[in-house]
């Protein structure tokens, strides 16, 4: 059941993220321009200039300082957000670990973009896959509408888990693609999120705290262990917040994994982000030809929902995994490696093939999606295939 206050807008992913940020009305936003996420802070700074938000906007001189300002502000008890992409995310890499190690619930929207060299401004996941072990929760959104709603949910998830959170969307495909976005009212967002209630904060001068001390072999290990525990516990937080959101607003967003046409499927494709939309359409067409194929879309990559994936994949004979990043491991992309590891305890494991596709924004077409389905079908039929291959690559 949908609540009455939904408003339909035509928005790009960047506009949807900026609009969500406006309604979230964070205390501090610190950001630096970078394609394809620039628009988010550009639009947001107009909200600030027009007095539509209470936020203090800090237009820093680098992404490293963007995350540093976010860390200082979050440690001072504020609700803090930023946005970046690609090289910017790479530049703030050092600070990502510090944000999560200090357990600061910063929310960052990322417009996924390829990493240099060669320099490229278009979408792939090499940037956020590079920070997958930085202790941040990571959501990968399929479309602008999901970006909008996930950004709002991420604030609550981050603050309840005391962990920072990235909301990822494919550069240009989502950041610049205009879609219908159904937004909540300002009041609904305000009510859903409430206020941040930090356990400690630096501005409480009567109760001084030391944040970020030197921590050697005596306690570092215990602190990392408790951080891992926080990530584990965040699974329950994510499940609860998404369920609460869906119940309140009549939405049906997945918490970890979305299933599409899996009930009677013979084999599965597993994907993330915008490519899932293309695959869903290809599945509809192929099903008319009698090919029973389904899709699992991994929405939450960190924490990795290995139990859910293991359970959902169990019993299938073949899976085709889609990676929009090259890990240079020589054994396929990061999603496929983690999915295969998830399946290891199963007695009967499916045959698996990884498809590396779309690097540097190379278009992933419906034809490519058909190819992915047909190759995975061959695997299902027992054909011997390599562990991974490239889709949409010239000369292959």
């Amino acid at each position: 059941m949908r609540i009455k206050n939904f408003i339909k807008h035509a928005l790009t992913g960047n506009e949807a993220a900026a609009y969500a940020m406006k309604q979230i009305n964070p205390d501090v936003v610190a950001a630096y321009p970078i394609t394809p996420a620039t628009e988010i802070v550009q639009i947001f700074s107009k909200y600030v200039a027009d007095g539509e938000v209470d936020t203090e906007f800090v237009p820093v001189e680098s992404e490293h300082s963007a995350m540093s300002v976010c860390i200082g502000a979050s440690a001072a008890g504020a609700r803090v957000m930023t946005a970046t992409a690609s090289q910017g995310l790479a530049l703030m890499h050092e600070m990502l670990y510090i944000a999560s190690g200090l357990r600061l619930p910063i929310v960052m929207v990322v417009g996924n973009r390829a990493l240099s060299a060669p320099i490229n401004i278009h979408g792939d996941h090499s940037d956020t896959m590079g920070s997958r072990d930085s202790g941040w929760i990571q959501f990968y959104c399929e479309n602008a509408n999901e970006v909008y709603h996930t950004t709002i949910m991420a604030v609550k998830i981050a603050e309840r888990a005391n962990l920072p959170c990235m909301v990822c969307m494919d550069g240009f495909i989502i950041t610049h693609g205009m879609e219908v976005v159904e937004t909540l009212s300002d009041e609904d967002v305000r009510e859903f999120l409430g206020k941040r209630e930090p356990l400690y904060n630096l501005l409480d001068v009567k109760n001084p705290i030391t944040v970020g001390p030197l921590d050697l072999f005596d306690f570092y290990f215990e602190h990392k262990r408790s951080q891992a525990e926080a990530m584990l516990k965040s699974k329950r937080v994510i499940a609860e917040v998404v369920r609460d959101y869906n119940t309140r607003f009549g939405t049906d967003f997945p918490d970890f994994v979305e299933e599409y046409e899996t009930k009677d499927a013979d084999f599965l494709i597993i994907s993330m982000s915008s490519a899932a939309g293309t695959i869903k359409e290809a599945i509809d067409i192929k099903r008319e030809e009698g090919i029973k194929v389904g899709l699992l879309r991994v929405k939450t990559f960190r924490p990795f929902p290995y139990e859910i994936l293991r359970e959902k994949i169990k019993g299938f004979k073949a899976i085709g995994i889609m990676d929009r990043a090259e890990s240079f491991s020589t054994m396929g992309g990061p999603l496929s490696i983690e999915i295969k590891a998830s399946l290891y305890p199963l007695e009967k494991r499916p045959s698996a093939i990884d498809f590396i596709f779309g690097l540097g924004g190379r278009e992933f077409t419906l034809e490519d999606a058909f190819k992915v389905i047909e190759i995975t079908k061959k695997l299902y039929e027992g054909e011997k295939l390599p562990e991974f291959m490239y889709i949409g690559l010239k000369g292959e």
């Binding site: 209470d54 540093s68 001072a76 600070m95 001068v205 030391t210 030197l214």
Partner: protein, 310 residues
């Protein structure tokens, strides 16, 4: 507000740093921190760059800081304190916080001249209301005495060793005070723990001013400079008396020399007391070169004294 407080008056306040920390014997930075923080008439929040100060004052589960304190990384103390100060500004604007708080960042020369220069430049350009205190020991002392761009000409460090062919660091140090002054912020100064009345007055003046403030404080280093551990303040004093480290301030663009030695001592008396310059004792040519540079800079300062430059 009283401009100058006696050390006795200061000692009765929250010093901002407790005893029991693990700074080297004779290291002057704890005194510098205490002089700076106890000079504030209001509560302080402190940010600290990675370095000797952070390492020796906070080994978990201990802390020497009886004031709110944050360390996040090496090159970003200015951005970190900017984040904290921004929240204060936001709360203040919305009437959610009443009390006045002074924000202070501490960093060494590596975190200021080198790796932290960009974040510092950005934070002061944006006009955050905080005091940045550089404790300048003129090399990367925390990692074991490596040269920084704040290391003076001729100094031996482990990465500019005095060898058979090359006599120590062969480049001049950056003039960080002038670099910061070029940002045209309201208050920039150089101070020394040996002239503590001057240091305290400068800090208290800085706290009165809205906007970014910068004070460079010379902080002699026992192992890095190579002198007996009871001589740190004396070394700082010699740096001032030789005009190697002049005491001056630039308030809203107006230069003011705060101390003119009655008899300017030759720089040699400062250099010859330190292991890091001992290889220069036989090199009169190089000592003359250093003296020439000190004289030039001092003459320049004298010519600017009392003038509004920006």
């Amino acid at each position: 507000m009283k401009k100058i407080l006696s050390l006795k008056e200061l000692s009765e306040r929250n010093l901002g740093l407790a005893g029991g920390h693990r700074a080297c014997a004779g290291c002057p930075f704890p005194s510098i921190v205490k002089m700076v923080l106890s000079s504030s008439d209001y509560p302080v929040v402190v940010a600290n760059a990675t370095g000797c100060m952070e390492v020796t004052t906070t080994i978990f589960p201990y802390t020497a800081w009886p004031v709110p304190w944050i360390h996040s990384a090496f090159e970003n103390v200015a951005a970190t304190i900017a984040g904290v100060e921004t929240v204060y500004k936001s709360l203040k604007k919305r009437g959610l916080i009443k009390e006045k708080i002074n924000f202070v960042a501490f960093a060494g020369d590596g975190g200021t001249y080198d790796i932290g220069l960009q974040a510092l430049s950005g934070a002061i350009e944006r006009g955050h209301n905080f005091l940045y205190v550089l404790y300048d020991n003129q090399a990367y002392m925390n990692t074991g005495i490596q040269r920084s761009s704040g290391t003076p000409f001729g100094a031996h460090t482990t990465t500019s060793p005095a060898g058979k062919v090359i006599p120590g660091k062969m480049q001049e140090r950056k003039d960080i005070t002038e670099i910061i002054a070029a940002h045209e912020i309201p208050y920039v100064a150089q101070a020394s723990p040996s002239h503590f009345g001057d240091l305290i007055r400068k800090v208290r003046r800085a706290f009165e001013i809205e906007g970014p403030k910068f004070i460079a404080v010379i902080s002699p280093c026992v192992p890095g400079w190579g002198y007996p551990e009871n001589k740190s303040i004396e070394m700082a004093k010699l740096a001032v008396e030789t005009c190697f480290w002049p005491l001056y301030e630039i308030e809203y663009g107006v230069y003011k020399i705060n101390y003119k030695p009655k008899e300017k001592l030759p720089v040699k008396v400062f250099l010859e007391r330190q292991e890091r310059f001992k290889h220069l004792i036989q090199r009169e040519d190089l000592i003359n070169e250093i003296q020439k540079k000190v004289d030039e800079k001092w003459e320049r300062l004298l010519s600017l004294d009392g003038k509004k430059i920006r």
